[in-house]
Amino acid sequence: MANLKELCKKEDLLTGGHRLCSGCGAGAIARQVLLAADTPVVIGSATGCLEVSTTIFPYSAWKVPFIHSAFENAGATMSGVESAYRSLLKQGKLKGDIKFITFGGDGGTYDIGLQSLSGAMERGHKMLYICYNNEAYMNTGIQRSGATPLGAHTTTAPAGKVKQGKEQNRKDLTAIMVAHEIPYVAQSVVGHWNDFISKVQKALATDGPSFINVLQPCRLGWAYKPEDTMVLGRMAVETCMWPVYEVVNGEYKLSMKPKEKKPIVEFLKPQGRFKHLFKPENKGILDAMQIEVDRKWEKLLKLCGQAS
């Protein structure tokens, strides 16, 4: 359980002056991760919004060691850093506890970087991989990804005269990570800082690889008012569009169950990327989306031993 009174006494290890959009959830994610850590950390990142916006030469927002090499290989790059640490520690060339945290967007994680992430997790490198998931390739201008939900408008799966945005459901990357049988996997969301920070702390305390898929509303790609980033994150949980849960050593545990499960339109309506779905002729898509969310939610409840 994170305590803001205590946390706020710690030094912020991400400076202002980075070039993320106003209201971007990724900045909050990075800050909260750094605040959660109690030991020195080394940060790695895939190419993406967070990386480019926080490291425009000669201005880096990171007050901790940070490495970026390319887009599809954050898992592998950090494998190398972590292996170097183990080697030097073993040889007595280095002392002290250091934690390794890797960031990737959904592009760098779900899609182009999936192999590298899978390899890193399978090999058991002691690192926390955080996917800050904004459900499209935002850095290159809102293109569809494997994380983009059905019906969302993106620039490569746009809504048009005959197509209504993405025609496929997103893949369940969290389940793929669970299938790696690593000791700690979780889903979290921007807007529930306590949930997220607690999960980061649990992950960092894990003796082995860990993975957190954190949903990050993107004000530009999702097209909403910048002040609503946290609100939308919480709404994703309340509508069960993005349930928050953790899987510790294979055991599913629901982190938050909405008192009253809201219809997904409450999450979709404030977002420009779903605007076209509210035309009467697209009601079928909205219904299909609700059915899918309900199905996944029931499945998750069963996994968590909470079947209704």
Partner: protein, 399 residues
């Protein structure tokens, strides 16, 4: 390379791969991250056994691809660990993106590359298309003629890379060297250890008290300066390579240069060649010398940084030169080595330059025999005696 026997050395029979793995064992890097590929697999396979037996303190990262191998090497080297890997052909091709990044981040990774043809069609045998394609990646490239050179170059390569802050690839020809058993003189572990020295990077990610950002986004304002730094470092690495060679000769007795001059002193006709086929060609040079033909050979050891000025000087008095390339540049007028040699002559020979022809040979492991090399020399002699040069680029042993 001149074979001299160091009283401290040990004469053993080793394949090129075994010799390179042996050098790696003696260097004992902190991290090796690699993915197997024919014909380089053995290097990391043998090395894995060293790790499994506790012979080296290395962390071996058995990554899931060559792209990840180079990525992990980048992470490891940036973290402050001495880092090595090995690959070949398609593996090197898959690493392409990361080769440039390793160089741009100035990380002294040493990679054993066993030269192999590039697909398509798929072929596992030796040619130099793979590393030639990577020639502008900002890596130092050192080629080996035999197992002995492969061993010696690996040991020198580590020291060169760390002094120049540049990644370095040391190559052998696939199967011809990698799998061929030869006599190799290895040196005692402590001598190699002392020669290579301890790795003390100026900055390291794991030095958490001095945090920094590596791999930042460089836009119009800084990219150019950083790339120039790399070009400058490559140019300056030439002297480092020569200095390390001198140290190596002092310790181990074998002499190395940017290239080897074989019977070049009064040569009128000469080959410029890279790798194992230099050995075959030296036999032809000797035969021709016995017949009174003033034949010579230059074997390029260091292709990057390319020894332009030096080579132009050494070729200026030759009458006719054939450059033999074990790779091709589709629809460029000539192959890579020829382009470098003629560019060197055009720029640095002061107008006095030999006639130069180009041959592409041995693609996909196609044999090159004494007869083939003999025919090349026959043509050079004709050119020297006034015959027209004719077609510049020819292909040896192509049906």
């Amino acid at each position: 390379m001149v074979l001299t026997t160091n009283p401290k050395g040990k004469i053993v029979a080793k394949t090129g791969n075994e010799a390179m793995a042996e050098a790696m064992r003696q260097i004992a890097p902190d991290v090796v991250a690699a993915y197997p590929i024919t014909p380089a697999t053995e290097i990391v396979q043998i090395f894995s056994q060293f790790v499994a037996d506790g012979v080296v303190p290395t962390e071996y990262v058995a990554v899931e691809s060559e792209h990840s191998a180079m990525s992990a090497c980048i992470g490891s080297s940036a973290a402050g660990a001495r880092t090595m890997t090995g690959t070949s052909s398609q593996g090197l091709a898959l690493m392409w993106e990361m080769l440039y990044i390793a160089a741009g981040l100035r990380l002294p990774i040493v990679m054993a590359v066993v030269n192999r043809a590039l697909s398509s069609p798929i072929n596992i045998h030796g040619d130099q298309s793979d590393t030639m394609g990577a020639r502008d990646a900002g890596w130092i490239q050192i080629y080996s003629e035999n197992s002995q050179e492969a061993y010696d170059n690996m040991i020198q390569g580590m020291k060169i890379a760390e002094q120049a802050k540049l990644p370095t690839m040391v190559t052998t020809d696939g199967f011809i060297i990698s799998h061929c058993m030869e006599v190799v003189e290895t040196m005692p572990d402590d001598m190699v250890k002392k020669f290579v020295g301890e790795y003390k990077p100026e900055r390291a990610l794991l030095d958490v008290k001095k945090p920094y950002t590596l791999g930042a986004l460089d836009l119009q304002d800084y990219y150019f300066e950083h790339r120039y730094q790399l070009a400058d470092a490559m140019n300056k690495s030439k002297q480092i390579i020569l200095d390390v060679a001198k140290d190596f000769e002092k310790e181990f007795g074998r002499k190395y240069d940017l290239y080897e001059k074989y019977r070049m002193d009064d040569a009128e006709v000469a080959l410029v060649i890279i790798g194992s086929a230099a050995g075959t060609s030296k036999v032809v040079v000797d035969e021709l010398r016995e017949k009174g033909v003033k034949a010579g050979l230059i074997k390029i050891r260091v292709f990057r940084p390319f020894p332009h000025q030096e080579l132009a000087k050494d070729l200026a008095n030759v009458k006719a030169v054939a450059v033999l390339d074990r790779s091709d540049s589709c629809a460029a007028s000539t192959a890579p080595l020829y382009a470098e040699v003629t560019s060197a002559l055009f720029t640095h020979s002061g107008g006095k330059a030999p006639k130069v022809v180009n041959y592409v040979y041995g693609l996909g492991g196609r044999d090159i025999t004494l007869e083939h090399v003999g025919e090349v020399f026959d043509r050079l002699v004709e050119i020297k005696d006034g015959a027209k040069v004719g077609e510049i680029l020819k292909y040896i042993n192509l049906r």
